[in-house]
């Protein structure tokens, strides 16, 4: 008996397995192909990628709202779709929870009726008490009699979460459900979601293109771009060393530089590159590139220091001489465009701006650590 359990758990290595190919027909720009193969365990997995990468399409395929042409999707060993044997469970049969980007609450029903919608088979009393339990778990029980039009966006997302979980789903698909909410509200909802899942241990696939959500939630990240999985693993390894140039934009790398490798110092673990169309050189971490090859460097605007005088005695290996081109205040960040062989975007705080007395046209020095320069594949 014990043996059998062992074998079962060995076979059931991943909670959700999916490999499929989905083609959306269309003209050159509209055509799109999603081709993925991945497995996730219980707990939260982040599906991360820029808009248009195919994240929502991927969730629709898993939920059964779209039918990929060739696919094998299984949940806890049960087949949801297998094109080889022509098995295709309808969304109704899959018993998943799926939260869309919009709360998609039924506008003509009250909050409580929305939540109990999925409990069609139980009797009236059970439905009401179960709905109440879920509303309480997500702290919206006081809204039970309201209509969706009468509650706030954050409340609507909490209700949508409660509604999707009321059916005792076997897995959760969350498609940027907290878009547009402030980070305090987000982390409160995350806490409630984590608490809810602590005992249940369901696999949760959480789609986002926002870095702060990845940092707040994640245990594991799958990065997707243009319908393909391009990296997966721990958040820092996937996101802090982006391998594809497009992904870097989403991960918050504002600076992209084209450069040519000058010389490789393997013993130091670094190499020097020269920026395209200028004499400026940078020291960057060692990559798989020989001297003379073209590489791309990605640098976060927040990782670059700005100095009003030429700095000395620093450990940072890259100190570039430049002039401020323009400055723009965006909320609590000042975006400076600095010309130093190439155009660099640098983020500073308004306080730093005032104390340094920075003005456009002023001579400044950029300080960039070697390991703030990330090599990016084309």
């Amino acid at each position: 008996m014990a043996n059998e359990v062992n074998i079962r758990s060995a076979i059931r290595s991943a909670a959700l397995e999916a490999q499929f190919r989905f083609k959306r027909p269309g003209h050159a720009a509209g055509a799109f192909e999603l081709h993925v193969d991945f497995q996730i365990d219980s707990g939260i997995t982040i599906l991360f990628g820029p808009s248009g990468a195919g994240k929502s399409t991927l969730l629709d395929c898993i939920a059964g709202l779209l039918k990929p042409g060739s696919a094998r999707i299984a949940l806890n060993g049960e087949i949801l779709q297998d094109s080889a044997t022509h098995i295709f469970l309808s969304p109704q049969q899959r018993r998943l929870a799926y939260l869309f980007q919009s709360p998609a609450l039924f506008p003509h029903l009250t909050v409580e009726q929305n939540v109990s919608f999925g409990l069609n088979n139980s009797n009236e009393g059970d439905r009401a008490s179960r709905a109440q339990d879920l509303l309480a778990a997500f702290r919206v029980e006081h809204l039970a009699r309201r209509k969706p039009g009468q509650i706030s966006g954050g409340e609507a997302q909490r209700v949508a979460l409660a509604r999707s979980l009321v059916t005792s789903p076997r897995a959760l698909l969350l498609d940027e459900p907290l878009k547009g909410l402030d980070s305090e509200l987000k982390s409160a909802i995350f806490d409630d979601l984590r608490a809810w899942n602590r005992v249940r241990q369901l696999p949760i696939l959480y789609v986002t293109h926002q870095r702060d959500e990845v940092d707040a939630l994640s245990e594991r990240v799958i990065a997707i771009d243009r319908g393909q999985i391009i990296a997966q693993g721990a958040p820092h390894s996937v996101l802090d060393a982006p391998r594809k140039k497009r992904l870097a934009y989403a991960a918050g790398f504002e600076n992209h530089l084209s450069a040519v490798v000058q010389d490789v110092r393997e013993s130091d673990g670094v190499m020097r590159v020269r920026l395209a169309s200028s004499e400026t050189e940078l020291e960057v971490p060692l990559g798989y590139a020989a001297a003379g090859t073209r590489v791309h460097i990605a640098i976060r605007a927040g990782d670059i220091l700005l100095a009003a005088r030429k700095p000395e005695g620093l450990s940072a290996r890259n100190i570039l001489d430049g002039t401020i081109d323009s400055m723009e205040v965006m909320g609590t960040t000042v975006v400076c465009r600095v010309s130093a062989g190439a155009m660099f975007l640098v983020h500073v705080t308004p306080g730093a701006l005032r104390s340094l007395g920075l003005v456009p046209g002023q001579r400044v020095w950029l300080v960039i650590k070697t390991h703030s320069c990330h090599l990016v594949e084309e």
């Binding site: 109704q92 799926y98 869309f100 506008p107 003509h108 209509k147 969706p148 039009g149 999707s164």
Partner: protein, 222 residues
């Protein structure tokens, strides 16, 4: 007044039949991904562009004693279909079909598909999604469809003249009656009927538009 009562009966029957027939048809049109859908849409919209005499002429041919539908009808009921109230209903249903189907299709298509998806994910079958989500959210469109088919049938003339003729109490509707009075230069009688029709039409339309605005309010803030 007999003619007015007949017209109201006809309009009521046609609106009821169109609600029953038009709803599934409109649902199918709004959901299908069939490429030939435009052909069905065009056929349904034909009465909008054809003169009523063309539709009436072919209906008369089909429903006449030698027509396929006429023969079938005579075999079943023992009397002809043309120039009867039943024949008038069939003709009016076809003639008013686009006025029922188009608002319904528009209403069904304007419901956010994510709401229907949400229903499916929560385990509701097609019928339950239709009954509890799609239909309640399409209520303004349903009301518009019923009112338009009612009002359009109430005011029709050409098709009735072609298919129904002018039999008092059977096929002599208000519009025919007015025409008759004018032909016999009885302007006073024509005016009585015409005014009644104007008031009834106005009352129906204004009531519905007043109600419709309130029906719109549970609609989500988009």
């Amino acid at each position: 007044m007999e003619a007015l009562w007949l017209s109201l009966c006809l309009a009521f029957c046609v609106a009821a039949i169109l609600l029953v027939v038009g709803t599934p048809l409109a649902y199918w049109l709004s959901q299908t991904r069939w490429r030939g859908k435009f052909l069905i849409e065009s056929v349904i919209a034909l009465p909008l562009v054809l003169p009523p005499t063309v539709l009436g002429f072919y209906l008369l041919v089909v429903m006449g004693t030698d027509g396929p539908l006429g023969k079938l009808w005579t075999a079943w009921f023992g009397h002809t279909l043309a120039f009867t109230f039943a024949g008038l209903i069939i003709a009016s249903v076809l003639y008013s079909l686009p006025f029922a189907v188009q608002p319904l299709v528009m209403a069904f298509e304007s419901v956010d598909t994510r709401l229907l998806d949400a229903g499916a994910i929560l385990g509701a079958g097609r019928w339950r999604i239709f009954r509890q989500i799609l239909l309640p959210l399409s209520l303004p469109g349903v009301i518009t469809a019923v009112v338009l088919s009612f009002a359009h049938t109430l005011g029709e003339f050409g098709v009735v003249l072609m298919v129904g003729g002018n039999i008092p109490g059977v096929t002599r509707t208000v519009s025919i009656d007015i025409y008759d009075h004018v032909q016999s230069l009885d302007y006073a009688a024509a005016n009585r009927m015409a005014i009644a029709l104007v008031f009834i039409s106005f009352a129906v339309l204004s009531t519905i538009y007043a109600v419709n605005r309130r029906v719109w309010s549970p609609w989500p803030t988009k």
